[in-house]
């Protein structure tokens, strides 16, 4: 249980780690949009090269990235198969109702590479940014929404608390499971229904303790006069540094590059 890595932050000393989290989030959004705006093989290959470069710069072991890809491999295979089989145009290969067209092959490759790039880009963000930095940055980025009376600070605070309590609750689950096993609870055998029933002795104490913790935390926050985001200053100020401007310029160049490749190399494939 304790081995589950949630939040997935992987501490290392790299340029990407040191970037301002706001820049990272905005760049991620830009790259995701770009991935879906690649209309030919050259711009697609270009985006793949960009993602590889960033992955290498992050100094996170490639094994970690492969692990995150493993989770979605089924989705990749299924969607590329569907695209392969349902392409329109002249069939180059036909067997019964199965027909493969150039269009289908092209679509399958596109879908496959796009999903992989998508996962890699978002993994870079989660691997190189600690959860607290992420919520901090989201809070800052969502600030304009306050004019629509969105409680931005409160939302960010809830996210921080939720992330903070994931490991605590996992540990708690571990303990409760051990305690019930010591009383002979059997969680490994039996039919589906008996197994679901076997979860009750774990879930009830877990919920009770989650509510207790929530209550205690609320009291503790009130004792320290927490009153929401208004007029609140932060201990950790986010400042844009030289490397952040460089990374923004890099992102802009990639955007321009993809647009150019899309327009001028329309007939390349």
């Amino acid at each position: 249980m304790r081995d589950i890595t949630l939040g997935q932050y992987f501490p290392a000393d790299s340029v990407i780690h040191r970037l301002d989290p706001r820049v990272k989030i905005l760049s991620l959004i830009a790259y995701i949009v770009l991935i879906f705006c690649t209309f030919n093989f050259i711009s697609l290959a270009f985006m793949a090269a960009v993602v590889l470069l960033i992955v290498l710069l992050s100094k996170v072991p490639l094994k970690m990235y492969l692990k995150s890809l493993k989770v979605i491999i089924v989705i990749v295979v299924i969607t590329s198969m569907l695209n392969l089989l349902y392409g329109s145009g002249e069939p180059i290969f036909q067997w019964g109702f199965i027909k493969v067209t150039w269009e289908g092959i092209k679509n399958a490759i596109f879908v496959c590479v796009r999903i992989i790039c998508l996962i890699l880009f978002s993994s870079v963000l989660t691997f190189t940014t600690s959860p607290t930095d992420l919520t901090d940055a989201l809070e800052r980025l969502m600030k304009p929404l306050t004019i629509f009376h969105v409680k931005v600070h409160e939302i960010a605070m809830m996210m921080t608390i939720a992330l903070r309590f994931v490991p605590t609750l996992l540990e708690e689950t571990d303990k409760i499971m051990a305690a019930q096993k010591a009383r002979g609870a059997d969680m490994e055998s039996g039919s589906l229904i008996t197994r679901i029933k076997a979860l009750v002795p774990i879930l009830v104490p877990l919920f009770v303790s989650a509510f207790r913790r929530a209550y205690e935390l609320a009291v503790a926050m009130e004792c320290r006069c927490y009153r929401g985001g208004e007029g609140r200053t932060r201990m950790k100020q986010l400042h844009l540094a030289g490397r952040d401007y460089i990374s923004m310029i890099f992102t802009l160049l990639v955007i321009v590059g993809v647009i150019l490749m899309n327009t001028f190399l329309k007939f390349a494939v």
Binding site: D3, A179, G184
Partner: protein, 287 residues
């Protein structure tokens, strides 16, 4: 033959990862039928890991644990049977209560053992009696009980399985002085009446000295001492080197011995100390 025999047992958490951490290292000891053993040691000395191995919740990384001469991991599929024979009460056991009524909660263990309904009822009632829970409380929701009552209900849940060996991991933590005295007395009475073996993890030297026959001292994942209580507590210097201390009364008597009074080293209770001192004073003709 000893009831429970621990041989060269080690336990490593998260083996082969950067978080590798040895919690128990090469520990060997024997527990005889009817022993009442206090397990003491600093926070993080490996006590809790050790007791979780004794009932098969954790599997030793190396070494063996035998119960009645049979390795408990001989048949991994039947490890539950070991857990019924070696009952473990966790620290803060009140957080494991989950049923609608106290009675149902105490029945959880015996139910898992597959006992008949009458047998379960009998066991629940006698377990509740041992920990001093009133019969009327049995029909209440466990969440309506007071902290001390919850603790006792949870302990009853393990006692109801009638284990040959009862292990309690810091059962008195967080209780008020009266509550802990009462609970200690109940555990002691349970041990005396049923003749069962009890292992008792504690931070309080006074508690261990008051009820246990033997003391097992863990220090930095290793077994440091395992002997009769008075012999362990007569080595005050060794204990304080480990960040532990002897019971207050033992320390006072030790100081008196150092000042030249002929008293017994390793005196564990105030009663014994009073007895020795009055004897001495009578002999000297001062009383």
């Amino acid at each position: 033959m000893s009831l429970l025999s621990v041989k060269d047992v080690s336990f490593v958490y998260s083996q082969k990862t950067p978080f590798e951490h040895t919690a128990v290292e090469n520990v060997s000891f024997d527990v005889d039928q009817g022993d009442f053993i206090g397990i003491i040691g600093h926070t993080g000395s490996g006590k809790s890991t050790l007791v979780q191995m004794l009932n098969g919740l954790l599997k030793p990384t190396s070494g063996s644990i035998t119960l009645d001469g049979i390795d408990i991991w001989d048949k991994p599929k039947e490890i539950r049977k070991i857990r019924f024979r070696v009952g473990l009460v966790f620290q803060y056991p009140e957080y494991q209560l989950f049923e609608e009524t106290v009675e149902k909660d105490i029945s959880f263990g015996p139910m898992n053992m597959g006992l008949s309904e009458e047998e379960i009822k009998d066991r629940v009632h006698s377990a509740a009696q041992f920990v001093g829970l009133d019969t009327e409380l049995l029909q209440k929701s466990p969440f309506d009980l007071s902290g001390g009552e919850k603790r006792r209900a949870a302990i009853a849940g393990v006692i109801a399985m009638d284990p040959d060996i009862l292990i309690l991991d810091e059962p008195c933590a967080g209780l008020d002085p009266l509550g802990r005295d009462v609970l200690l007395a109940q555990i002691y009475r349970y041990h005396k009446q049923r003749g069962n073996t009890v292992l008792f993890v504690s931070h309080s030297m006074e508690d261990v000295a008051a009820v246990c026959d033997k003391a097992l001292v863990m220090n930095r994942s290793r077994l440091e001492m395992y002997d009769a209580c008075d012999r362990v507590f007569s080595q005050g210097d060794r204990l304080s080197a480990m960040g532990l201390r002897v019971p207050q009364i033992t320390a006072i008597v030790d100081d008196l011995i150092a000042a030249g009074f002929p008293l017994h080293q390793g005196t564990l209770t105030v009663e014994n100390a009073v007895h020795d001192i009055t004897e001495y004073m009578k002999k000297e003709g001062r009383l």
